[in-house]
């Protein structure tokens, strides 16, 4: 294999890892705090991609970054509505939550199919980022480099929010011990809505940022969600650092697995997950449930 292959695949791995982080970080936070496995999360990502694609087609003045932020905000609102008016009703009923979030993701998929049809809608790479970047004599697709930078920037922002603010400390307290968090007067239901909006928003933004690589197409949700689930299981639920490292581990595993052993891509992907579940059920960075 030529050197260019390894370098390009590595960058592809990083880019996929970055996208997975945008999806998995929210999933992990929601699961960590609310104990809800939000199977609608892949649909949030896809809906974000469609919103972004539509906005970019409809308005000349919108660029990819504006579309990403706009989609993120729109998904935050939609996520907030679903949490307040649907999930809230289910209380602590895990089967209900799984069925309802799965059902909502099917509804969103069908709605997308009706509205946007079955053909993929491309999301163009911004003009300024179309030319490759030459580093050390190799050509790198510039957009993928930028995408990795975006994911790292979001990771840092989320980290600062969680680790350096009072709101973040409240969220971590809720992950540690929900009942005691309520007993010190923290309105946990508002915290739930905040975290759900945040997770949905970041996923929606990820859909747009992934657009130039993946485009918006029916089934994007179902392609991305299992990868995010594996990331969260690998990294440990509720752990941002776990989601970050897990995303890049899966990004590399999946990219190189598909390139080198296309027939075994899923074996390469799921085998580490099974080993982790068997020997370290709390994930690489999760804490054992008390």
């Amino acid at each position: 294999m030529p050197m260019q292959f390894w370098i390009i695949q590595s960058l592809n791995s990083l880019a996929l890892g970055g996208l997975l982080f945008l999806l998995a970080s929210g999933f992990s936070l929601i699961f960590g705090l609310m104990r809800i496995a939000n199977l609608t999360h892949g649909a949030f990502f896809m809906l974000g991609a469609y919103f972004g694609a539509t906005a970019l087609r409809s308005f000349d003045w919108i660029d990819l970054w504006v579309a990403a932020i706009g989609s993120g905000l729109a998904l935050a609102v939609i996520g907030g509505f679903l949490e307040r008016f649907v999930l809230r009703k289910l209380g602590n009923n895990p089967q209900g939550q799984v069925l309802v979030t799965l059902g909502m993701s099917f509804i969103i998929s069908d709605a997308c199919l009706v509205i946007w049809g079955g053909d993929p809608i491309p999301i163009p790479t911004p003009h300024a980022l179309q030319a490759p970047t030459f580093l050390f004599g190799f050509a790198f697709p510039t957009y993928r480099l930028v995408l990795v930078g975006c994911a790292i920037a979001v990771a840092i922002a989320l980290y600062l929010l969680l680790e350096r603010t009072r709101l973040g400390a409240m969220i971590r307290a809720g992950v540690d011990d929900m009942q005691m968090t309520r007993a010190i007067g923290i309105p946990i239901s508002r915290l739930f809505t905040v975290v759900f909006c945040l997770g949905a928003g970041v996923a929606g933004m990820g859909g747009v940022l992934g657009g130039p690589i993946l485009s918006a197409y029916p089934g994007l949700d179902a392609d991305m969600l299992p990868l995010a689930l594996i990331v969260v299981i690998l990294g440990g639920v509720g752990s941002l650092v776990g989601a970050f490292l897990g995303s890049f581990i899966i990004g590399f595993t999946y990219t190189f697995g598909s390139a080198l052993f296309p027939d075994l891509a899923y074996v390469i992907l799921f085998l580490p997950m099974i080993i982790i579940i068997a020997f370290r059920p709390q994930g690489l960075f999760g804490r054992r449930a008390s």
Partner: protein, 241 residues
């Protein structure tokens, strides 16, 4: 008659179908310490859970300075002025000492001399040295101080202490007892649940004894201190000092 800070009237609480508290009733007077005693499984912690709103009582009434709080959500009960130092301490292990305290800050305007972060560190100087450390890495005694500080910084009108001496070395237990006396002298109304009846009888004004989910004794502490029969019958020989 003194003001009733916290009053339970005919409270019935269930865990699922199992009936744990049977018509429990007692009243804590303002600025006093009420010791809630009884053997393991007598219903003491269930009673605390009912007051805090973790378990909604099925019947009966709980009032805080006359305001009914029975069946409210824990966060609402906390806002109204009940502070909890739970059994097993339950500090937030992945938060720093400082974060454990600042997220619990509330009710500053409702109190005459509110607890602030600095005042909590003055009360427990050993926490000041470790303010940036993860709370999960503290010793058991320090965690107990932190749990008490976390409850105090919410400026509660009534403080619930559930087995604060459990699992601590005698020296630390003495410090916890000193702290409770200090809080009492400062006018804090306290419900103290204890297996260690020596500690409890030392600081309490009133005593309530539970046996299998019922109040079997309610009265001033003097009636219990020298009543060996009562202690032997309901508290068992293991914890009578």
């Amino acid at each position: 008659m003194a003001t009733e800070a916290l009053k339970l009237t005919d409270v019935d609480t269930y865990y699922g179908d199992s009936h744990v508290l049977h018509g429990v009733g007692f009243a804590l007077e303002e600025k006093r310490v009420l010791a809630l005693l009884g053997r393991n499984g007598a219903g003491k912690t269930t009673c605390i859970s009912s007051i805090m709103g973790f378990l909604a009582p099925r019947n009966g009434e709980i009032t805080l300075f006359g305001t009914p709080i029975g069946g409210l959500a824990p966060e609402a009960i906390s806002k109204l002025g009940i502070g909890l130092v739970p059994q097993g301490r339950r500090i937030f292990p992945s938060l720093s000492v400082r974060e454990n305290l600042i997220i619990a800050r509330q009710r500053e305007k409702e109190s005459e001399k509110p607890w602030t972060y600095d005042r909590i560190l003055d009360l427990f100087p050993s926490l000041a040295e470790r303010s940036r450390q993860l709370a999960g890495l503290l010793s058991g005694g320090e965690q107990q101080m932190l749990a008490i500080g976390r409850a105090l910084i919410g400026n509660p009108r009534v403080l619930l202490l559930d087995e604060p001496s459990e699992g601590l070395a005698p020296l630390i237990v003495a410090e916890v007892a000193r702290t409770i006396k200090q809080l009492k002298d400062g006018g804090q109304s306290i419900v103290l649940v204890e297996q260690n009846s020596g500690l409890a009888l030392d600081v309490a004004d009133q005593v309530v004894i539970f046996n299998t989910g019922r109040c079997v004794f309610t009265g001033p502490v003097d009636e219990v201190r020298n009543n060996d029969d009562l202690i032997a019958k309901h508290l068992g020989v293991f914890h009578a000092h």
